[in-house]
Every structure is written in C-alpha cells, then in structure tokens.
Symmetry: C2
Subunit: 307 residues, 2 copies
C-alpha cells in the first residue's frame, strides 16, 4: 500500500530569465514526496542529508505523511548542492556547480518497516544506489518506476543498464531517450528501451508534454500552455511524484490507468514551474489539483464525426 | 459553399536524412488542394505556373475537383522552384536555392466564377498577393485562413500586418509566432497576434503537435508519433488543407469545430510526411483518413477520476 521513494534531498541555487534564487530546498526525493503526498497518505523516504539541512523542512515533510526513518542525517557533513541556469528555452539548462557532499559515499539502508512498500519510485540518483535499494526489497514490488538523466548515461551506463532490467517504468526526457537508445525517432527509442527491461517508457518533453509507450501502444499528454515558466527545476520529479502517487493510490497498473497517471503528473508539474523551487508545491490544495486536472480534460477533448 | 485556395504550384528538390529527390511537384496550393479535396468537392485555385508544369499534374488536380480557371499558365516562363535540406531535427531546415521565376511578378486574378467562395485559404505567399486576392472578393467570406512564414516577416512585415487585419485564422509555426509577436511564451505570442487581427491562432509545432488559441481558450492537438518522418515538405500546407477542408465541409466555424479541424489537419499532415513530396497524398483513401483520425482519438483519450 505505501510508496517507497529514494532520491536526493538537497540545496539548489537557480537562475532563470525571470530571476535568481539563493540556496533553496530541492532534490528529486523532496519534489517527488511533495507531489505524491497529495495522493497517498504514507511515503517511506530513503535519502541522505547533511547537518545543514533544516529541521523545519524535515518536519514539514513528516506533516505530509513522509516517513523519514530511511533518511540518514550526517551531522558533520553538508547536503548535496546543485546550481544551474536556465535560458528562454527551458528544455535546456547549464549546470554551474555540483557539490556531491553527503552523496559521495551514500550507502542507502532500507529499514525493515519499509518492506511492505508495493510501489517503488527510484528518483534520479547514482544507478548503483537505485539498484541497491531495489535489492534490499525482500518481496518483488508491484511496480518499480525509475527516473534517470544523461549524466548517468555518460558516467555509469553499465550500472544503469543493470538496474533497468528490474524496472517496470522508465521516465526520461526526449534527449535522454535518444542517448540511451542511440535512436533519433522517439518511437524507435522507446522500442529499444523496452527491450532493455522496462515495459513502459514515459518520454517527458517539457512544454511539449509527454509520451507513454507500452508494447505497440502510445499515449500523448499535453503540457498546460503557460504564460510564463518561472522555474522548471523539479518539474520532472514533481511529474514522477504525481504519476507514481496516482498509481499507488489506485493500485491499478493497467495501461489505461497509466494514461491517467501521466495526466496527473503533468498537472502537478504545471504547478511546480509557476514559482521558484518548491514554493508552489507547498501552497496547492486538493481543489487546485482537481481544477487543474479538469483543465487538462478541456485542453485535449474534441468531438469527431468521420468524413 | 466552395473553397478558394491561393498559393504556389511549384517544383521542389528535397534532401532529408532518408534520401534525396529530383525536381518533384510541390507548392503550398498543391498540397492544400490535395489535402482539402478529401473533404470538399470543389476547390477554386488561384496560382501561377510556367510552361514547364506538367499537364498531367493539372489534370490530376482537376480530377479531384480542383477548378483551375484562376491558375495562370505562363508558357514561356519557368515555375517557381525551391530546394531545401532537412536534418535529423526536422523542425528546422536549410533553403539551398529559391528561383522565383513566374512568381516574381505574379498578379493574381480572381475569376468571376470564384465569387461564391465562402471559405478562403491564403496559402504561404507574398503578403501583398494574399491581400490582393482578398480585396478581389466582392462579398466578405465566412472565414479567411492565412498561412505565412518567417521570410515574409523579414522582408514584408508591413504588408503582412496589413493583410492580417482581414484574417480570421492565422497558421504559423512556433518560431514564426515568436518572431511575429516578439514574445517567447506561445500563450503571450498568441494574445499579441490576436490583437493584430486574427481571432484564432494556430501554432504548428511539427512533431510536437499544434495549439489552437481563441480569446482565453486553448486546445492542444498531438502529432502522431511516427517511426520515421521521411520528408516534412508540405506538411504545414497539408495540415492547412485538412483544417480548412473540414471547416468548409461542415460550414461550422465554432471553436469546438475548429478543434476537430485541427485534428483533421494533424491526421492529414501525418500522412504527408510518410513519403517524399506529394506521393502519399495521392495514395490515401477515405478509409485511411478515417482510420488515422481514430488513431488520434486513441492517442489522447483518457479517463479521469478526481482525487
């Protein structure tokens, strides 16, 4: 019934055409948990932070049903730090600085109390760490979802290929799908990736929406056209949190329900980008979410009479 | 009841990562007519060709219900010629050569028998020529749709702005929408363009689908994910032909029906790119079209139960 999430909990410093942030709270597992907690009552988090990570942030997550037993706190070390800059085309970004800090020798430990998790979300992280979490699960989860990025394809491809064999759903963006498969056509890329292990491939295309592939089926979800995207940081993780949160809530892993999960993930991501960092994700209510999901229905709904 | 189409009828030479064509039949009005003739029985064409334009091409168009009275044939001159090269990202292309030939001093004449046209499709062409056609219409058409490109924004912006005041629907691609409006956000770009005249703005995004804007409403249509796009030449014109063809057939210019028209246009464009030039557009049947439109229904259809 519950959802296990592994990923970074970190500090980010972000620059976009609309402004600049100081060190603010970020990290894949932070965004995933903030997003998924709108759908499931309990999230069992695996991560690592330094002594500099604010207690109030941990308390906030706990208040949303995030169990922190699997979050290691290394008092004398510093949390992972990432700094990046976005340009007008926010599908691309420059990394300005990466300080691994506590992440350098992160050895995840899955507490015994996490063994009941049927849904596992492996947030973007060193593939060997993602794999280690999976190997610690004594029962095969109902669904394993993995997010990754081009950096791991450049530096740890063999490890990534290994963990992919045990993954049900892979989330990547379009350029990552192309890099992983060495195919330009996303249809061909998805086929190649499905041959590597995952039965479902979700290709995230930012402002152009997302594609879901499964066997010979495909589903296209739009992104909400927005006047401004203030800060895309965490949008992919927020998408993942909505996606896996909806699946864990409904316990239905059919293709039809995955389509709905993609729409839920897209709706959550559309909030994330409206303000810097995690700001917007802390504000939104169930009513906001329902209203946004209804906007997606209007966005793609059409009537057809054939010629 | 009938549809007036103005645009080029021309020769193209095309290079893509999948192959290279010799001089083949092309031109905006050719693609628009081939596409729209699947929906309306009569198309009244305005264009100009040289003595080198094959009679069998004219006969083929006539056999599909395309009236050629408004197509000037300049026996001693050569038809418009365009040569271009596409790369893997087919949303961008390089123009290798442009020979205006008959287009250099094209003065369109709308025959008296065309005056009953309620739907007017101004295909991509010199804005002053598009405007001249419109000025020759004695009664205000029910709907005027205009397609244009960045070249006219660079070279004839004042003329383009003038004709836009009399246009109901503008079709442009995303970079053109940005250039025309000087806005990066497509939502803001569409608002700016609507202030210039058109009540509807369609932003074509190639493999990423299309957006329809009207007042504060927006609709997103996907493109069909294809294993290969062999040749995107004419896809935008084919989209326009399906779009305006559906509207002229149904005589319903509501926002709801424009959404359907966008799907019809997207379905037609998805055929166009499957083979070089106009090849695929000559092969497809009503059954092919209906089956492709049904694929679009499956592509975006999802069920939602709110949280």
């Amino acid at each position: 019934m519950s959802l296990l999430v592994v990923g970074t909990m970190a500090f980010d410093a972000i620059e976009t055409p609309f402004g600049k942030s100081d060190r603010i709270i970020g990290g894949a597992a932070t965004y995933i948990a903030l997003s998924a907690s709108n759908f499931v009552s309990t999230i069992k988090q695996v991560s690592v932070v330094g002594g500099d990570f604010p207690q109030e942030e941990l308390d906030h997550l706990a208040s949303r049903g995030v169990i922190l037993e699997g979050v290691q706190i290394k008092k004398d070390e510093k949390s992972f730090f990432w700094s990046g800059k976005y340009h007008l085309d926010m599908n691309e970004r420059d990394t300005l600085e990466t300080q691994l800090n506590v992440l350098a020798d992160f050895n995840p430990i899955v507490p015994e109390s996490y063994q009941d998790c049927e849904f596992v979300m492996l947030g973007n992280l060193v593939p060997a760490v993602q794999h280690s979490v999976l190997k610690q699960m004594k029962n095969k989860p109902k669904l394993v979802v993995l997010d990754t990025m081009n950096f791991w394809m450049d530096t740890a491809m063999a490890d990534l290929e290994e963990v992919l064999k045990h993954v049900d759903v892979l989330l990547v963006n379009d350029s990552e799908a192309r890099q992983l498969s060495a195919q330009y056509s996303l249809v061909k890329a998805a086929k190649s990736i499905m041959a590597m292990g995952p039965k479902y491939v979700v290709v995230k295309k930012g402002e152009h929406g997302a594609l879901l592939f499964h066997a010979d089926k495909v589903f296209v979800a739009p992104a909400l056209p927005l006047e401004e995207v203030f800060d895309p940081t965490g949008a992919g993780d927020t998408f993942a949190g909505g996606f896996v949160g909806h699946l864990a809530k409904t316990k239905d892993i059919s293709f039809e329900n995955m389509k709905t999960a993609i729409i839920v993930g897209s709706a959550m991501a559309s909030f994330c980008v409206e303000k810097f960092g995690t700001t917007r994700m802390r504000e939104i209510t169930k009513e906001d979410i329902n209203s946004r999901i209804n906007q997606f229905v209007d966005l793609v709904n059409f009537e057809i009479k054939l010629v």
